[in-house]
Amino acid sequence: MAGFPLPSEITTPPGAEGWQELYSYSSTCSPARAAYEDSMFWFQDGVHWPKALLPWDASLMEVAIMALSQYNTRHLLVPPANGIDYRIVNGYTYLSPVPAPEADIPARAEQFMQRAGHYFMNWNELYDNWLVKIRDLVKEMEGISFDPLPDVEPLEVVTSGAGRGAGGDLQANYLKLLTCASTLWQYHFEFLNLGYAAYLDFFGFCKTAFPGISDLAIAKMVAGVEVDLFRPDEELKRLARMAVDTGITDAFKLGDVEGTCEALRAKGEAGQAWISSFQQSAEPWFNFSTGSGFSSQDKIWIEHVEIPFDFIKGYIDNLQKGDDIARPTEAISAERDRIVGEYAALLASDEDREAFNGKLGLARVVFPYVENHNFYVEHWSHSVIWRKMKDLGGIFAKEGFLEDPEDIFFMKRHEVPDALFDLYSAWAAPAQPAGPHYWPPIIAKRKEIHAALNAWKPTPALGTPPEVVTEPFTIMLWGITSDSIASWLGGGASDDGSLGGMAASPGVEEGLARVIFGPDQINEVQEGEILVAPLTAPSWAPIFGKIKATVTDTGGMMSHAAIVCREYGLPAVTGTGFATSTIKTGQRIRVDGSNGKVTILD
């Protein structure tokens, strides 16, 4: 079978020589492991890391993959699947599922039944507890402060007999943040794969009973009506409605946020009420990344309030045109009941109906986690982590270690303690730290290398693919199937010149393509266009109201983007691999979301 380049065959892009220095030694390929690396199949994860990783950002990738593996392998013993091995290749993340040894599977199955069984039996209680745990963790992270070191410790530090000071706290707090990140990702995978497993069980039943049933139909039966992931968008709509109801919309005609706020304040009570209502929504709901949440560079609504403001303005326009922007929850709920009722009625026996209802029931119990965790982990918690790291970067910048606080993301996670030690001991002496001479040239060089890595187009996979992809989570989380691998090998285009991908949301639409490469280009998208992007994020929801269809390079049927597309009833083809490099803005394209096909008509 034809394959992809081997990891050892990948060459460094020009200008990126020495790129391995940007990442931890364990995360890159090495000659000592080359035989193993070349023998495995690796796929690029563009869903979570579409661009070359920044050195510090790689920490969250590594900890996330580690936690996933840990739960499969050490906690739950998922019978056929061990964890996932990863490598950073030219700055991009490549993953390789590790199968469980065939001989171990029966024993693992027994353990899995007991361990996973406990979670399924006590799901609601455990999930309620999870929501408490995750909020506590966020609070703990929020409580971590990275303050500049004082000239003199306050008197009470001395009089309280604490016996330690700000320098040590700074070091400890950094380690605490790392520990929190590790805890965060363990929490994330405490439930996630179990959620998918129960979903897959229902999915498998439906596909057996109804071979022609679409993935979408199954998703619709399970999907929740009130979903936290849609809450930020709901808050935008609420604020737009409030502005209309209280007659303060002309304040939003002014261009920028500052002008709008000034005009709102000038409106007295109604304006003030709106501003404080916005602030209430913002915590936590606008801790919402414009990307996957995995990049320190993605904008977060709460830090770039112009983003939610623009969306609110759009919704105000809609309301003034008389559009109904409310999510019709009752209709969604009734439609869900109809779908379930009709499929159940078509089943061949009462036993089948009983099994169907049981599996659907379990899938619905577990699914809120699958739908909601993304907000709590990737958006809210990560937002806090990025903010804290920028605070820490601010301290380094103040002491001349960094030119810009955000340059801290060009440090590796284990370099930060060294730099902190430098800063701390120089502060203590006081003496001249080495950092201000040591770091700026390194950071400058790394920026050059990173730019060169970003310019590299990652190959979708490395090594020899398996004949059939059977690893459940590869399929669910990343949408990688035997078909998608075949399509990558074929360069994306099928015999008739169309692009193939996942039929993520059904329907057929034709229209002009708008190709964008990131959230900064969202404003370019015009009413009635078809969005073509490397991937979409849940936080792009407000523009889903004006586009006709979506095409992405990456993503599976359960990717967060797919969930939002289905919610908005837009045809979508995900995981095409090559859409953004094949399609040009302004081309007429046809998106067949029922069959996973994109055709360029021009």
Binding site: A116, F205, F210, P211, S214, E342, A348
Partner: protein, 363 residues
């Protein structure tokens, strides 16, 4: 009693007035199964015409001393009766009502002299209509009120076919006991036509509707001489899950002189899909309604009528129970004796032998 009964105003109490065929058309219309639109000229019209022209006495005279074993005699006398009925006067009020209804039917589609089918729908307490199905007359492509009136009379006359007449004599039934209702129905003029199954004929999947469709009249599809476009629609979601557009090399079309003729299609037309997405979904909805109405998987014939406005242009021509998969009996997921409550074993086997790696066809 009412003379004219439109299909859409039919209710069960009218069955004895309109006969089996008209009752079934009325019932289907009421159930949301759009048969070609039309109306019934009820038995009360027949009764009045019969009574006012003293038909009974005439029949009694002609059938007096009939030897039902003498086929020549039967044939001659019955022909005389039929001839009499076919030319007898219709009471003026009734004739006006039939003409009025026919004009109204045409006006619905903005058509003058709309071509209609005029069909017999006999009623009788003792002999089920079915016994003589095909014996009674049907006239196709009838145009103009004059011809419609004529055809109505000839349908009435078809109560006295040789076989039906002999049957009544033999069984000792009164000839008065059978009455004739006449159905007048728009002739379907299809843009495209075909068949639909309320399950996937390749695997028995009841969540799917399978549609075969070709240009023009459905003859070619039914006979299997045209490779039709093939569509699969999810019955619950009403999404088109599969579409294969075939090379439809010829089609059956209506000629200027109301006959159906086989013609070659142009290459562009041959390879163009013969249904729009909305039409595909409407046909699926229709098939689904038929399945619900009859309570089991159906095999239907349908047409898209060019004369009818979009939204009302999908016509059900026939619906009968699907036989192939229905005979095999249901394929259950849960095997007999298997427990359904053990979700953990099921989750484990799901993870081990993942069905979700398969494509939508289970391939």
């Amino acid at each position: 009693m009412t003379t004219i009964s439109w299909f859409e105003s039919y209710w069960a109490g009218m069955k004895s007035e309109v006969g089996g065929k008209a009752a079934s058309l009325g019932e289907m219309t009421g159930a949301g199964l759009p048969v070609p639109p039309g109306f019934a000229v009820t038995t009360s019209a027949y009764r009045r015409a019969r009574d006012e022209s003293d038909l009974d006495a005439h029949i009694a005279r002609l059938l007096h001393g009939l030897d039902i074993t003498d086929t020549d005699m039967v044939s001659e006398r019955c022909a005389k009766i039929r001839q009499h009925i076919a030319t007898m006067p219709i009471p003026e009020g009734i004739e006006l009502q039939i003409r009025g209804a026919y004009l109204e039917l045409g006006a619905r589609f903005g058509m003058k002299d709309v071509p209609v089918a005029v069909r017999s729908s006999a009623t009788s307490e003792d002999s089920p209509d079915a016994s003589f199905a095909g014996e009674h007359d049907t006239y196709l492509w009838v145009r103009g009120a004059e011809d419609v009136i004529d055809a109505v009379r000839r349908c009435w006359a078809s109560l006295f076919t040789d076989r039906a007449t002999c049957y009544r004599v033999e069984m000792g039934y009164e000839h008065r006991s059978v009455e004739m209702c006449v159905v007048i129905q728009k002739m379907v003029h299809p843009k495209a036509a075909g068949v639909a199954f309320t399950l996937d004929p390749t695997n028995g999947d009841r969540s799917q509707v399978a549609i075969d469709a070709a240009w023009g009249f459905g003859e070619g599809v039914v006979a299997g001489e045209v490779t039709p476009d093939n569509y699969r629609v999810d019955k619950v979601m009403l999404d088109i899950t599969k579409r294969i557009v075939s090379d439809k090399t010829h089609e059956y079309v209506l000629t200027d002189h109301d006959t159906v003729e086989r013609v070659e299609t142009t290459p562009e037309r041959a390879s163009a899909p013969c249904l729009t997405d909305n039409e595909i979904k409407a046909i699926a909805r229709l098939a689904k309604t038929a399945e619900r109405h009859y309570g089991c998987p159906q095999d239907i014939e349908w047409a898209v009528d060019v004369d009818l406005p979009e939204g009302d242009n999908i016509i059900l021509l026939q619906s009968r129970p699907e036989t192939v998969w229905s005979k095999k009996g249901p394929t259950t997921v849960v095997q007999p004796g298997q427990k359904t409550g053990d979700f953990m074993s099921s989750i484990v086997s799901t993870l081990m032998s993942p069905l979700y790696t398969k494509g939508p066809d289970g391939s």
